[in-house]
Structures are given as C-alpha cells and as structure tokens.
Amino acid sequence: MLYRLTAAVFLLLALFVLSLTIGHFPVPPLTAMSILFSKFFALTPHWAPKMEIVILQVRLPRILAASLIGAGLSCSGAAYQGMFRNPMVSPDILGVSTGASFGAALSLYLCKSLVVTQLSAFVFGMIAVGITYMIGVLFSKGGVPILIMILSGIIVGTLFNSFISIVTLVADVNNTLPSITFWMMGSLATISINDIAVAAVPILFGMAGIVLLRWNLNVMAFGDEEARAMGVRTNLLRFFLVCFATLVTAAGVAIGGVISLVGLIVPHMARFVVGPNYRYLIPASIVMGAAFLLAVDDLTRILFLSEIPIGIVTSILGAPLFLYLLLRSRKGWV
C-alpha cells in the first residue's frame, strides 16, 4: 500500500510542475521551478519579469486552489461514505455542497467578508447534511439504506438550489449579482492568493481531523452496534467527522463554487489503488483528489481558449467515469 501511495505523491508533484508550464505563455519547467524557489532562496533572476507574474500571480494560485479543493472534496467524500456506510454518497449528493453554496451566496449578498462567507457556507452545509441524515434516519428504521439517503440528499439539494435562486433574484443587478453568478459557476480562474490563504486554514484543519480519526471509519462501516462493542463511540465520532468533512467542503465551495462528482469518484479510484482500508484510503484520496482536479484544470486550460468553469468539466468527465467504476466494482454494494 505504501509504495502505491508514494507513487501517487510523485504523480502529484510531477503534475504540479507540469501545470506551472502549461498555458498560452510558454515557461520552461526549470525556469518555472527557479521562479518558485527564488521566493525562498536568493536566486539571481535570469528570466523575464513577465514570466514571474504569470507563474506567481496567475498559475500558482490556480494550481494551489485546484489541489486544495480537489484534496478536500475527495477526503470529505471518502469520510462521508464511511461514516454513513454508503459508498454512493459524496458532498454534492448529500446536499452539503448546495447548502454551503447557498450560505456563501447569502453572505455575498449581505456582506463581502471572506471569513463571513466561509462561516456562512459551513453553517448552511451543516444544516443541509443534518436534514439529509435526519430524513434518512426517519424513513428507514435502524440502518440508513443507501437509496433513501441519496433521495433525501436530492431533495435537500433542490431545496437549497431554490433558495439560491431567490438570492439571485433579489440581488442587485449591477453590483452583487455578477459576483454571485461568477462565483457560482465554480471557476478557479479568479481565485486570488488571499482567497486561498483564508480557505486553506479550514480545509487543512478539517483534513487533519479526518486523517487522525480515519481508522474509526473502518470500524463504523460495520454498523453502530458492532462498532460500539469494539469500543468506538459512534455518535460522538460521527458528529466530529461530519463537522470536519463539512468544514472542508464548505471552505472549498466558498472559494471555488460547486465542483460536482469529484468527492464521489476519487474515493472510488483510490479504493482501486490502495483498497478499502481507511488507513490508506484517506491519504490516497487526498493525494489523488489534488492530482485529479489539477489534471482536469490543466485539461480545460489546454482544450478551451475561453475560460470554462471547472465544475462543468468534472461533471462531463465524471459521469461516464463513475458508470465505469460502477460496472467494475460490483462487490455487493449496489
């Protein structure tokens, strides 16, 4: 398992360097790395100042955003799948992403503080996942069957989508509406280093929490009664895990909008690589999630001349990929 994980880390590093060089303005890989290192070490610049601007102010923020959001969505997707014992859920299917984006839209409408947006996205993300879970528990005594949870997630998602529509209807056409609309498309192009600095704190904190508690997700997959008999405080742990996963998702949504299907597909891809043991699955999901979104973002930068929101691309790529995974992995969970 460990060497597969290491391979994934090297893939991510290679993609990182590659992403710095891709684009309409050509920068050789070595120059790109020198520019990056010149921030930490005293290097004499042998490159055009224009290159430095492209690397540090255009490409780097975008790469960091893609990696952080991709890692966060995949990590929280894997955590949700374990704690709800349901391989078919993800932040978007549970309604968390939509709830968080309503919270973010609401705060963009009322005030434009980055921190408030993060907080509001987290609160409404928690409300959304809370409602989805409650409906799931109410309509299926004992365990939560896979389909009921997906259906209640769809209902909650639809509900929060209509709330978002209300916000866009009442928003000021000249001022707030364009910023809400632009953000909702889920684009990484406009994210600044400042946005990333604010979002990185909750994303890294939440992922660290999930990484620390990851072994318990294995035990929880066997159901609460069994997990408790093995010494796992299921209710307390589920509460903390929901908080961490929602924090990560909401922080990503607040800067990048809704990016669909990443949180569903990447954990399954990671299971193919390292197996279902959460001890390796969570780190693998983090690394592969970062690499996945980075690769998708590179692809959009190469293929399309005009800026296309990455959420659209992940959906188009993700749908067939997910069907393929579904066909290959019928090990009793569908």
């Binding site: 391989p87 008999a229 093995m230 010494g231 090990k331």
Partner: protein, 279 residues
C-alpha cells in the same frame, strides 16, 4: 468470571426479561435458548452494555460493568454478530485487526503488534489462508469464523455470540461450533451464544439457559434443561429425546421433532390420530 445478578432488561418502562441470574466461569460455554421474540436479543444487548439495564447487577471478575466506559468494556466483552456484509470489501486481516481498536488511542492506527495479534487469532481459528481474501467474497461460514477471530483479537474475557450458526449450511454449523468449543477450552474465555437448535446446545454447551414463553428464566446443565416437556411447552412441537452410542464410541444426546399438530396436549403421541398420521 461473569456474575449476572437478578437483572431485568427492556426498553424504557417496558420490561422484557426479568429475574435473570447466572454465573459463568472461564472455559464455560453457555447456550441461550428461547423461541423468537422472548427477549434473547434484549438480554444480549444488556450484557453488552448497549442497552441500559432496568435493575440488578452484572459483575465481571467482581467489578460492575456499568462503571466501565465503552473502550474498557470492549476490552472485557466482545460481540460476535450474525455475519453480514459491510459496504466495503475489506481484507480479512483488516477486519480481524479492527478488533484491536479498543486497545489503541482513538487518533492512531494499529501497529505491527496489533496485526500480529490479529494473525494469531486467524491461526487459532485455522483460517490463515483467508488472510488476504476479501471479506465480502468468502462464504458465510468463513465470515462467521472471521468474526470470531476478530473477537479473539479483541482479547476480551467474555464473547457474546448472536446465533452464530444461523444462515450456515449443515457442515459449516458444526465447523463453527467446534471452533468455538476449542476456543473456549484453550483461550481462557467464556462464551454466551444463542441458538435455535436444542441439539447444538446438547452437544456443545456446558450450561444451558432458557427463556420460556412466559418470560421465565432458568439455567442449568444441558440434559437437565432440555427435556421433552420443555420442547413441547416452549416450541409447541412433539419431540423425543434420545441418548445413543455412536459407531465412533461417543455418547450423544439429541432430540428429533416429530410433529407440531396438537402438541399442546401431552398424550397426543398415544392418541389414535397420531397413529393414523403415521400411515
């Protein structure tokens, strides 16, 4: 040693089972018999601590289990549920290692020492060859053995097993029970298990506890507890008990259910209707 003193259990104000008392020493296997719906599971969940008891005391080596927190309780009492499949295809060794969870910090993962204990448990159950198999792809009997191995890795003193032989074929039922008996004899543990088969209780139990239809609780040696009258009254079938000498030279007691018709009346077997029904 487990001492259950006069406990009543149930849900909220509704008492399901009352006046349950028994003791169980290390190396003993207690079979809990009772028809469906009399509260076997309720009693189980109470002993496991997942259900608050209404009255009485449960002492493990003289200590009240209610004072223990969840993690400490898990180091004393392990639960072997009926085998079912989790949503993810874990490897068998990972499933068994999960039994170690109560022994390390909540923020950490198992060490090589824990994996070694899990491997020992696999060896005890004679299923080392399943180590790398996917838990969702092995047979029901193997899955049950893996769950017993997981409970052994938990290194608890008491193993509580919920109908370990249900859903198993003829051969696997015996294999699982033989393994359980070996474990009880060699591993310094005691086992409580529920079963629907009086023959299993006669063959493997060192003690039998019964919960009757009137919710009464009684405990004793297998041959004392399982009588033709008990089977008739509790399961409403006419059954006959036999003690035979097998070709291998073992003394075996077993029962054969004959008919469920009019089993309520004790002399049905001598009645003309019964004689007719044989033709």
């Amino acid at each position: 040693m487990l001492e259950v003193k006069n406990i009543s259990c149930g849900y909220g104000a509704r008492t399901v089972v009352e006046n349950v008392s028994f003791t169980l020493c290390t190396g003993e296997l207690l079979c809990l018999l009772g028809p469906n719906g009399v509260g076997k599971t309720t009693l189980f969940r109470t002993i496991l601590g997942s259900l608050q008891r209404i009255g009485g005391e449960i002492l493990l080596n003289g200590k009240d289990v209610q004072r223990l927190n969840l993690r400490h309780l898990a180091r004393k009492i392990a639960y072997v549920p009926q085998a079912h499949t989790p949503p993810f295809p874990f490897r068998v060794i990972d499933v068994v290692t999960m039994g170690r969870t109560a022994h390390f910090c909540v923020f950490s993962s198992p060490t090589t020492k824990d994996v070694k204990i899990a491997e020992d448990a696999l060896r005890t159950m004679n299923i080392e060859h399943l180590r790398e198999s996917s838990y969702t792809e092995i047979s029901g009997g193997e899955r049950q053995l893996v769950l017993v191995a997981r409970a052994l890795a938990q290194q608890a003193e008491l193993l509580v097993m919920d109908e370990p032989t249900s859903n198993l074929d003829f051969g696997n039922q015996i294999r699982v029970l033989e393994h359980i008996r070996t474990v009880v004899r060699t591993q310094q543990v005691s086992v409580i298990l529920t079963t629907h088969s009086p023959n299993h209780a006669l063959a493997y139990a060192s003690k039998v506890a019964i919960i009757g239809r009137d919710k009464s609780f009684a405990v004793g040696a297998p041959e004392e507890m399982i009588s033709e009258q008990y089977l008739r009254e509790t399961y409403r079938v006419n059954a006959e008990l036999f003690g035979i000498h097998t070709r291998q030279g073992k003394n075996v007691r077993f029962c054969i259910p004959l008919s469920s018709r009019e089993a309520g009346s004790p002399n049905y077997l001598e009645s003309p209707q019964y004689a007719e029904s044989l033709h």
